[in-house]
């Protein structure tokens, strides 16, 4: 998919001030809201522990719970399709659409549908697809892909949205939220009524009952699921929870982490299609369950936990890298820290091997994650895997060998420091290095680099030790001559 590397894509994103402004404005708001709502709610760490335990248990027994879920979907009258990869999943949905002679498909937000490029597959068959989530609708009009898991159009400013809606037929629109959402609402309402198929994602599949649970704010998913004759659910195979009791925990963790909402606006549960005597609901329900590289992570001690992810996007909102470059620079469906881990795991090989390097390993993602996935550790372990697979650059391997050669022996290290000090006179000026060329130019383009000290600590150590041994303990100052630690202890 991506022709260039993450570094080049990041570079061009950095030159887009509107993008940064939009991303920083929204992630700031989400951060604040999350901090407030979790503080008010209280005992957040205990909720995170509970969330992690439930996800770990579910994924450890995924074969059992997935089977239970599928059996229960079927006994409630739904159809289940297991898809090994993206192609199979898209084909299953295309087949359903063809069988129903569908002309129009409406969709609510689903990252898995992006992963399988569903829209393209349906459009190739001459079927019109309309995104009905406001953010997805915006980027569909712009011909783009989501740049955030929860807020797909996070990179768009109000003015850009106004322009897109005007092109789509909106008259006299202002950048006012009501005006913009009003236009989308009017346009989409007629489409819900004439669509042949509604496609939704699935936040959680409840194994004990075969229920598909959706968390939404706009109410569009209920229209998508209920108004057309056929409802198709597309979900990743890991999206299972054992029971409704477990759902309670995630009804707190998900909206609070994702958008800082105390509760989600709509939590909709679908168990089978419409039954005789019921007033609403689709006549036909299909659940497409996607593997696409997920089952490969099962049993992998380093990476199985990535399947615990509930796609809340909290790691994106706190990531200092995402904050600078937004989602498209990642060049993959899933952006941000979780994308930098998940994408190379689902698509092994050279194409996405550079994504794990788009991180300073600061660990903010782990801290924000409601189920405590150690994303920062996984980024390091992915780099290790890529080195083992020979996907790293040759120069880098040599540099690491050199590092080992010098730093594995204190004597060599000491000698190198000494000769480096002689060498640096060529480039050092005024106690720093400003030369914007050479191997450190990534640093020196924008920052002064320090020089090696005239005398390293270890070179000065014998003198320092002798001085401290000979001299009496120096008199403490400022506190009537008492040794500082005694003062401190007395004050405690």
């Amino acid at each position: 998919m991506s022709q260039t590397g993450i570094r080049e894509r990041a570079k061009s994103a950095l030159q887009d001030p509107l993008l940064q402004q939009a991303v920083q404005f929204t992630t700031d708001r989400l951060r604040t809201r999350k901090a407030n709502v979790t503080e008010t709610f209280g005992r957040w760490q205990e909720w995170r522990d509970r969330g992690r335990d439930i996800r770990a248990h579910t994924i450890a027994h995924l074969d059992f719970y997935l089977q239970q879920f599928a059996d229960n979907v079927r006994s409630a009258g739904g159809h289940v399709h297991f898809a090994a990869d993206a192609e199979e999943a898209a084909q299953a949905i295309v087949d359903i659409a063809k069988k129903r002679r569908a002309k129009l498909v409406v969709k609510s937000k689903s990252m898995v549908s992006e992963e399988i490029h569903l829209n393209r597959h349906l459009e190739d068959e001459g079927i019109q697809v309309v995104e009905t989530d406001l953010g997805e609708y915006i980027i569909q009009l712009a011909g783009e892909t989501p740049s955030h898991i929860i807020i797909p159009s996070i990179h768009k400013t109000r003015e850009q949205i106004r322009e897109l809606f005007t092109k789509a037929g909106g008259e006299n629109l202002t950048t006012d939220t009501k005006a913009l959402t009003g236009f989308a609402r009017r346009t989409l309402r007629t489409l819900f009524q004439s669509a042949d198929i509604g496609v939704t994602g699935c936040n959680f599949g409840i194994a004990e009952s075969g229920t598909v649970v959706l968390f939404t704010n706009e109410g569009n998913a209920d229209m998508v699921a209920n108004l057309p004759r056929t409802h198709v659910v597309i979900m990743g195979m890991e999206r299972i929870l054992p029971s409704f009791a477990d759902l309670e925990v995630f009804s707190h963790l998900l909206p609070k982490s994702a958008t800082g909402q105390n509760v989600i606006t709509y939590m909709s549960c679908f168990t089978g299609p419409r039954r005789d005597g019921e007033a609403d609901g689709a006549r036909e329900l299909h659940v497409v369950i996607l593997d696409n590289g997920r089952s490969r992570q099962l049993g992998d001690a380093d990476f199985q936990d990535i399947l615990h992810c509930i796609r809340c996007g909290a790691c994106l909102n706190v990531c200092p890298v995402y904050r600078q470059i937004g989602g498209h620079a990642y060049g993959s469906v899933y952006p941000g820290p979780v994308g930098a881990v998940l994408t190379p795991l689902l698509n092994p090989g050279p194409e996405y091997a550079d994504l794990p390097y788009a991180s300073s390993l600061c660990g903010a993602c782990f801290e924000a994650c409601p189920v405590q996935i150690p994303l920062h550790d996984m980024l390091v372990k992915l780099r290790r895997r890529h080195v083992a697979q020979g996907l790293a650059k040759r120069g880098e391997r040599a540099a690491s060998r050199g590092f080992r050669l010098v730093f594995a022996r204190a004597g060599r290290y000491r000698a190198i420091i000494r000769s480096g000090r002689l060498g640096q006179v060529l480039v050092a000026r005024h106690g720093g290095i400003d030369a914007r060329i050479g191997p450190l130019r990534g640093w020196t383009q924008t920052r002064r680099a320090p020089v090696l000290a005239k005398r390293s600590f270890r070179e000065g150590w014998p003198g320092l030790r002798q001085e401290l041994r000979q001299g009496n303990r120096p008199p403490a100052t400022g506190t009537e001559g008492a040794p500082a630690h005694e003062t401190a202890v007395n004050k405690e």
Binding site: I325, W443, P450, S456, H485, A488
Partner: protein, 250 residues
């Protein structure tokens, strides 16, 4: 109590004054540290790039150096974080090294941690009349869990006006090799950090990791900003020197 200094390669070669300030301050507090010379580096540059075999050989210098000591104290939350969080994984392969790594993990403390938790000192008797702000290092706070200790020490410094740093918990963009490999991205991050430091109108930026301070300080030096960048150990030690001249700025 036998205490060893793990000075870190960065402080050893680039900022020896930080190591010296730390040794002198600990000496004032009645703790004489030793400096075993086999030590070089915690191995992070290779480890974080995925070269664990290379990292392990370098990390072994620390296992060898610190075996005979009761405590290891270091001026870097990041390097201590590496030991604490990753050595168990790094040395998982053989039982003997794993045991030694576990022992090292047990007895290693970052400087402020050592003062507050081991020595139980939060007032070193320092005075430092200046407006300062504190940048917490990501590894120190998130990998090692050092959050309140540096602030507690700073709050007890007489005359020090401590102002909160906006977006303090956001990474400064250092990230070791990241700063060179992803230079443009790292630069954008440090520019934000410098802007936030400026907003505090602090005369001094304090930290507990020379990696971050080298990055932020390097950017400020290039821009000609007049904020003094100091390791916590330097500020505390200078603050205990009665004659210390208040060359806060410049």
């Amino acid at each position: 109590m036998k205490v060893a200094l793990f000075v870190t390669c960065l402080v050893d070669s680039l900022y020896p004054q930080v190591g010296e300030a730390m040794v002198r301050l600990l000496h004032r507090l009645g703790v004489d540290v030793d400096f075993p010379e086999q030590q070089t580096c915690c191995g992070q540059p290779a480890f974080n790039s995925g070269y664990w075999d290379d990292a392990r050989e370098v990390a072994r210098t620390l296992l060898d150096a610190f075996d005979p000591y009761d405590y290891v104290v270091s001026p870097s939350g990041s390097c201590c974080g590496m030991i604490y969080h990753y050595y168990p994984d790094l040395f998982a392969g053989d039982a003997e090294s794993r045991r030694r790594a576990a022992a090292l993990t047990e007895k290693t403390y970052e400087f402020s941690q050592f003062l507050v938790r081991v020595l139980e000192v939060s007032d070193v008797g320092a005075s430092f009349p200046a407006r300062a702000t504190y940048h917490p290092s990501c590894h120190g706070s998130r990998l090692l869990g050092v959050r309140d200790e540096p602030l507690e020490l700073l709050r007890h410094v007489r005359g020090l006006e401590l102002v909160p740093l906006p977006y303090a918990a956001d990474c400064c963009g250092f990230g070791g090799t990241f700063a060179v490999k992803m230079g443009e991205l790292s630069s954008a991050m440090v520019e934000d950090k410098v802007r936030h430091v400026e907003e505090t109108q602090a005369q001094v930026l304090v930290g507990t990791d020379m990696g971050c301070l080298m990055n932020i300080g390097g950017r400020m030096a290039r821009e000609g900003r007049r904020v003094r960048v100091m390791h916590l150990a330097q500020l505390l030690y200078e603050g205990t020197q009665a004659q210390h001249r208040r060359e806060i700025v410049g």
